[in-house]
């Protein structure tokens, strides 16, 4: 849990720190000059030199944090893309005498191409295996740089890169580097705040949920990986301009320690955190590594350990951390917060939910009463267990269709097969006439099948408002946009829906802090906000009180009726089933036992035996 939720007061402090940092960065050369005049035995150039390398490091680390902090990916190949940027500038200069500034313009292309190609491979795997794959890729690239002497110069690397005269002095070079870095940071900042960035946050928080709101997880991960390598290559190009060399060790995987340490030190949860980390790191390195080269590794390691184990927010969360610490020592209670009681449903305004614009089923060419979802001969086994066997089921448009059956009857598996979370062994699933069998979850979500899960599936560290906003963004296809402020989009619609379901007071709280019933309400709201034609509800009222259950089902019923939604739900509570459904299918041991109106099912002796009155004659 690297990122922490920050309240609005913290946000103001952070903007202050950011402004101070930018001013400081702009004023480095004059400050250094002043310092040099006051201490005649010290050259001011050295301070400017340090600030320049800190700038480059900041760009490198922030690009790393695009993956680490925003998408939750640990890569061990980031140093390789940094190195590729440097080699691009160096080799083009050495072989084709291309001026370094033109070379620098080509670094993002080189970084993006290599990042995309290697990312395609690395992202075949997820999480841990992804990290290990990046390690392999990193070593592969290093081996090429180190051993392909004919092209790269091997062990020696590229030296003697000359730069334009205008940049040959420290101060102009500093401003040039700072300008390029600043430009890159602005672009990255815009991206992180955009709907695209919102999709990344959703993926980091809950991959499964992200898929079910229509986000193609792999695609976004590949995109952010490519973006990160693009900016890393620019940073590497700047390094080659600044140091006038490129060498193979730059690509070695242990070099990743630098962006990792810097990002952690500054805080992965904030955009400029790593930049501040870069300055601290550079100062530390220069005061320590001169006399204590070996101890420096130990200090780096200790910093990473402390950050990972004790202060997960890094430098950027230090103020908050200190406050918490002080509170703990004084044994003070945390400042009063709005307590979520988990009873939002009591305050839900049903008439209002129905009015909400966002809740609108997408148009499909299926008339009311016609088959909307057709399942043919569907089967799925897990090892020896036949969870779903030869199931045929038709859900008609506009119907409220319940699936009941004892636990283990195969209801959840069936839902997972429909929503694409599982692939069937055989059989077909048709939706609105289209074959969606075995399609990935995000495409099925896009096709118009929304889902509320049995276990609560929300984005815990995003606010309630963001949960809804991001769901709307994703479902309407805005998340491919790398610009615009995601938090300002669909604000009114999301807020309207939140208030209508009774969660208005909690809009700015992280969803994970709400009570169980309220999280269920968010879950329900998300599935309604997706504008789906068919909504799958897996025990929608589990964990709600009887009153809330009634209200939630009344809500579902009204929305379905007014907005032309079709419902397919499974539920244990028979009162809910018989009160809501118009069609009931009974499943038992993976098969469809029977189907009919609630009345028919209630009277069916077989159903009574296995399910409704199953325990009459015990003991």
């Amino acid at each position: 849990m690297i990122t922490r939720y920050l309240g609005p007061a913290d946000a103001r402090i952070r903007w202050g720190i950011a402004a101070f940092f930018i001013l400081f960065a702009a004023a480095v050369p004059p400050l250094a000059g002043l310092y040099g005049q006051l201490n005649p035995d010290i050259s001011s150039r050295f301070e400017i030199y340090l600030a320049t390398s800190a700038m480059i490091l900041a760009l490198w680390a922030i690009s790393y944090n695009l993956m680490l902090g925003y998408a939750g990916m640990v890569s061990f190949a980031h140093a390789a893309y940094f190195g590729i940027g440097a080699y691009t500038v160096g080799l083009l200069f050495q072989r084709y005498h291309l001026p370094v500034l033109e070379g620098l313009l080509l670094t993002p292309i080189a970084g993006a191409l290599v990042g995309l190609a290697t990312g395609l491979v690395a992202l075949r795997a997820v999480r841990l295996y992804f990290s290990l794959l990046t390690l392999a890729i990193s070593q592969l690239l290093f081996t090429i740089a180190f051993n392909w002497v004919a092209v790269t110069g091997g062990d020696n690397g590229v030296h003697g890169i000359t730069i334009p005269d205008q940049l040959s002095d420290y101060t102009p070079l500093y401003y040039f580097v700072a300008g390029v870095v600043g430009l890159c940071l602005i672009v990255m900042f815009v991206i992180t705040r955009s709907p695209f960035g919102a999709a990344l946050a959703a993926i980091r928080e809950n991959r499964e949920r992200a898929r079910s709101i229509g986000i193609n997880v792999k695609m976004y991960e590949l995109a952010v990986y490519t973006l990160a390598s693009t900016f890393a290559a620019i940073a590497g190009g700047l390094f080659a301009v600044f140091q006038q060399e490129a060498y193979p060790e730059m690509l070695y995987w242990t070099q990743n320690a630098q962006p990792v340490v810097v990002a952690l030190l500054g805080g992965t949860g904030s955009f400029l955190g790593p930049a501040i980390g870069a300055f601290i790191y550079t100062v530390l390195q220069n005061t320590l590594s001169k006399n204590y080269a070996n101890q420096f590794d130990i200090i780096l390691g200790a910093i990473v350990l402390v950050v990972v184990l004790i202060v997960p927010g890094g430098f950027a969360s230090l103020p908050q951390f200190l406050t918490n610490l002080r509170n703990r020592f004084r044994r003070e209670e945390e400042p009063a917060r709005i307590e979520s009681t988990g009873e939002a449903m009591r305050e839900a305004d049903l008439a209002r939910v129905v009015q909400v614009q966002a809740v609108q089923a997408a148009d499909t060419p299926v008339e009311r009463g016609e088959p909307l979802l057709v399942i043919q001969d569907l089967s799925k086994s897990f090892g020896g267990l036949r969870a779903v066997q030869n199931v045929d089921l038709t859900v008609h448009a506009g119907d409220r269709h319940a699936i009941i059956g004892p636990n283990g009857a195969g209801k959840s598996t069936l839902f997972n097969l429909i929503s694409g979370r599982l692939k069937p062994d055989s059989g077909k699933v048709l939706f609105g006439g289209r074959d969606i069998t075995g399609k990935p979850p995000h495409l099925i979500a896009k096709a118009g099948i929304g889902r509320a899960f049995q276990i609560t599936m929300i984005f815990p560290k995003l606010t309630v408002l963001q949960n809804l906003q991001y769901a709307m963004l994703a479902h309407r296809g805005y998340t491919t946009r790398p610009f615009g402020f995601a938090n300002r989009m669909f604000r009114a619609e999301a807020m309207e829906l939140i208030e209508a379901v009774g969660l208005g007071r909690y809009a700015a709280l992280p969803a994970g802090q709400l009570g169980h019933g309220d999280q269920r309400a968010i879950e329900l709201a998300i599935s309604l906000a997706l504008g789906s034609r068919l909504v799958l509800l897996d025990e929608p009222t589990a964990g709600m009180s009887q009153y809330e259950t009634q209200k939630a089902m009344e809500l579902v019923r009204q929305v379905a009726a007014e907005k032309g939604l079709t419902l397919l739900f499974c539920e244990h509570d028979m009162e809910v089933v018989f009160g809501t459904a118009r069609t009931v299918t009974v499943m038992y041991l993976g098969r469809v036992l029977t189907q009919g109106t609630p009345e028919e099912i209630r009277r069916n002796p077989e159903v009574r035996k296995i399910y409704l009155g199953e325990l009459e004659e015990i003991a």
Binding site: Q546, H572, L589
Partner: protein, 241 residues
């Protein structure tokens, strides 16, 4: 036998179980009834010592175990039959049983616990569940739901426990098996074992339990003899029957 006083469980910032008090006598069974998410499983896990965020007093046979880690509580007589009949799928049936094997804890042998003196062994478990004996060399992961449930109960018995905590043992099982579990539970009570049963299936639970406690939103809201609970208003309100 098992006495819990003022148990509170927090996950991070959210408070899940509030001031839980309950007592399970030897040879008796307490049914803990409530909906999904009411805090039943969390309470059991808190009593077992599996949750770092649990605070409160837990005593087994008079000994305060509140500060003990889970394995010591297990060694001193607490056994667990987790929900979904969890077992070690990559171990054989026999290994699943051996892993919990433990001689009778607290050899003071109070008359109530040693009424049926002999302690549980693999052989006795196979006598009780002949099916498990047939399958003893098979991997537990390949068992059916009912067989796994037998294994989970058998594993709990192997530690010769004083109290067994069962979490929805009937979930997902065919009615025939549910009945046999009901009978088994009655037999176990005869041997002097105390049982704490968390259930949503109140029909089975109330038929075999001595007392019933109702849980809602992390609190026990009512407790009464099982016979009275069957027609109680609180059962109607909480479980919606």
């Amino acid at each position: 036998m098992l006495k819990v006083a003022g148990l509170n469980v927090r996950y991070g910032k959210s408070h899940v179980v509030f001031d839980l008090d309950l007592t399970v006598e030897s040879g008796q069974m307490l049914a803990l009834l409530g909906r999904n998410g009411a805090g039943k499983t969390t309470s059991l896990m808190g009593i077992l010592g599996l949750l770092p965020g649990a605070q409160g007093r837990v005593a087994i046979d008079g000994a305060d175990v509140s500060r003990w880690p889970a394995h010591r509580r297990a060694q001193s007589g607490l056994a667990y039959v987790p929900s979904g009949a969890r077992c070690f799928p990559n171990l054989t049936v026999a290994e699943n049983l051996e892993i919990a094997a433990r001689r009778r804890a607290g050899s003071n042998g109070s008359s109530s616990t040693s009424s049926r003196g002999t302690s549980w062994t693999k052989e006795r478990v196979y006598e009780l569940f002949p099916k498990l004996g047939e399958l003893q060399a098979n991997m537990a992961g390949g068992l059916s739901g009912g067989e796994r449930q037998m294994l989970a109960v058998g594993r709990a018995l192997m530690s010769n426990p004083k109290v067994i905590l069962m979490d929805e043992p009937t979930e997902g099982l065919a009615p025939v098996i549910v009945q046999s579990i009901g009978r088994l539970v009655l037999e176990l009570k005869q041997t002097g074992v105390g049982i704490l049963l968390a259930e949503q299936n109140h029909q089975m639970a109330l038929k075999v339990a001595d007392r019933a406690a109702f849980m809602e939103k992390g609190r026990i809201v009512d407790e009464m003899p099982a016979a009275r609970a069957i027609n109680s208003e609180v059962l109607h309100r909480i479980l919606g029957v």
